[in-house]
Subunit: 334 residues, 2 copies
Amino acid sequence: MTKIGDRRRTIYDVAKAAGVSISTASNALNDTGRTNAETRERVKRIAEEIGFRPNALARGLLTKRSHAVGMLTNDTYGRLTLPITAGVSEVLIDHGVSVFLCATNNNPRLAKLHLDALLDRQVDGIIFTATRLDLKPPVELSKLPIPVVYVFAEGPADSVTFFPDDEQGARLAVNHLKALGRSRILHITGPEDYLAVRLRARAYRECCPSGADVMFGEWSEEWGHEAVERVFVGSGEKPDAIFCGSDEIARGVIDALRDMNISIPTEVAVVGFDNWEVVARQTRPPLTTIDMELKELGHQAGLAILGLSKGEQIATGITRLPCSLVVRQSSGGH
Amino acid sequence: MTKIGDRRRTIYDVAKAAGVSISTASNALNDTGRTNAETRERVKRIAEEIGFRPNALARGLLTKRSHAVGMLTNDTYGRLTLPITAGVSEVLIDHGVSVFLCATNNNPRLAKLHLDALLDRQVDGIIFTATRLDLKPPVELSKLPIPVVYVFAEGPADSVTFFPDDEQGARLAVNHLKALGRSRILHITGPEDYLAVRLRARAYRECCPSGADVMFGEWSEEWGHEAVERVFVGSGEKPDAIFCGSDEIARGVIDALRDMNISIPTEVAVVGFDNWEVVARQTRPPLTTIDMELKELGHQAGLAILGLSKGEQIATGITRLPCSLVVRQSSGGH
DNA sequence: GTGAAAGCGCTAACAA
DNA sequence: TTGTTAGCGCTTTCAC
């Protein structure tokens, strides 16, 4: 019976089994240097056979590239973070890069702890994600020795930053309603101190020059409900469409309209913002809404950090990625 | 002007600045070996001053412990995954362990890719999370050279596995309703092919020996709505309480009851399952529900993998962690 | 109590 | 084309 040590195979094992030196083995495995095609194939085959897998720690120590990036995030229960992270991870895994997930809960002590851990691990870059465009990181990220990409968060002026194009998204919603023949469109949205809220409201106003009416409030169903009650009591001309700042607000709006026996979309069409499926799919009728393409945002952020970590030049400043319109029954669109 | 190279400080820099050898510096920094207390303090102070941070790659290469673990997950848009991950990360960061997040989308190819990457990075262990107890990992995890912990998923018989105590959670719900004086309790729940559904239904039946009535269906609001309509049309004795298999179902139930002008909780009390705040907080009235303590599940999984990676003995088999009851207005409890 | 030296597994000059 | 060699930054015997 052959005694096989169960320690992991190293490049030495490959070299010995293939009858070459470790440098030849290394070159063959990585397609670097000048290696005879035949030798290369043989080395690769043998590596495969004996189950060789390179030690990423050793490689990283030498090359000073760990092929890992850190994601520092604020948003624990993250309906934003998770799709973004999935997008980041999805592009990076194809480039052999793994992702450390660090939830900071917006706590500076925790953020520092995670940041130090990431730096110790020699990550090639950091992606910082928050839930608001106008929220600062809980820890200083601006003078790190590695590149940083911001998603849904504000970095220094010359940083690489991604977020959704709120104005374009709002235009998409309003133009959809206008194309459906609606003319008295109301905008019920979140707190005015959110940049996203202001951007969306601005785009909405530009699309509805006559009689644009914005109701700022909270990010809750409750607020959607309340706003509708406020608008639809009494007489006077009523809106024939409502563009909501979030799907949650839209849900409250829809529930309130149903309570008042106002038919959707016949009397009032409703459009939301987020395409948060668990909400948008479950309203009655299902909600037409704006999708912020969070996964794509993650893709772009991943590609950016990849490029930066290789020393490539990436356009700095804010890049706003287009939103898309998801039509369901609440707007009566097709 | 002193030229300071901006490469990272190494233990050599610390040793030189402190006038000791690198081995002494290492011992001092790690509180290992016999080191003069005074020397130790001096070395630590100097390390701090020059901004020394140990290179985790070098350390891991030598010690064969990377102080990183991988989380392999199925549930991309994860209302389960995220709290669990947060819990894992929360305990581990305090032990200097970081977490790689790998979303597999239940895709074997992707899972293999991620698993290999984790192995290459010499992770100290892997936590596999799924969304169902009776779902197998998309990749073979049973004979890895590193420990594996399963959360919300089934591992081999002798593996370490955590999930919530569905039966205890169900008993909590039913007993709460009984304590409130309800006697005709109906159970509207998800598909019977889920183990969790069967366990909850069993516990419910045991608590309601007389007239226990279970309606299996889907995990949707729609189903909750439909089930209520089915039950409350026609004459005959109606339930005075409904225990739902999920918060989403409960939401449908509550909406349907309101549509029928049945008052909650006076005529019918409702309890959900999940404590998914975005749903449970927004129902009218707010939903009494069962919390699966996902973060605590993550804590336990993190501690388990930590212990296992240190070679400690951990009880194998399935550990079910208690759920808790969150009382809101839908049950009229206090 | 401290230091010299070996070496973790790998890559990249440079020689042959 | 291939092999030899020198480290990457750190921990850890084992002399002193």
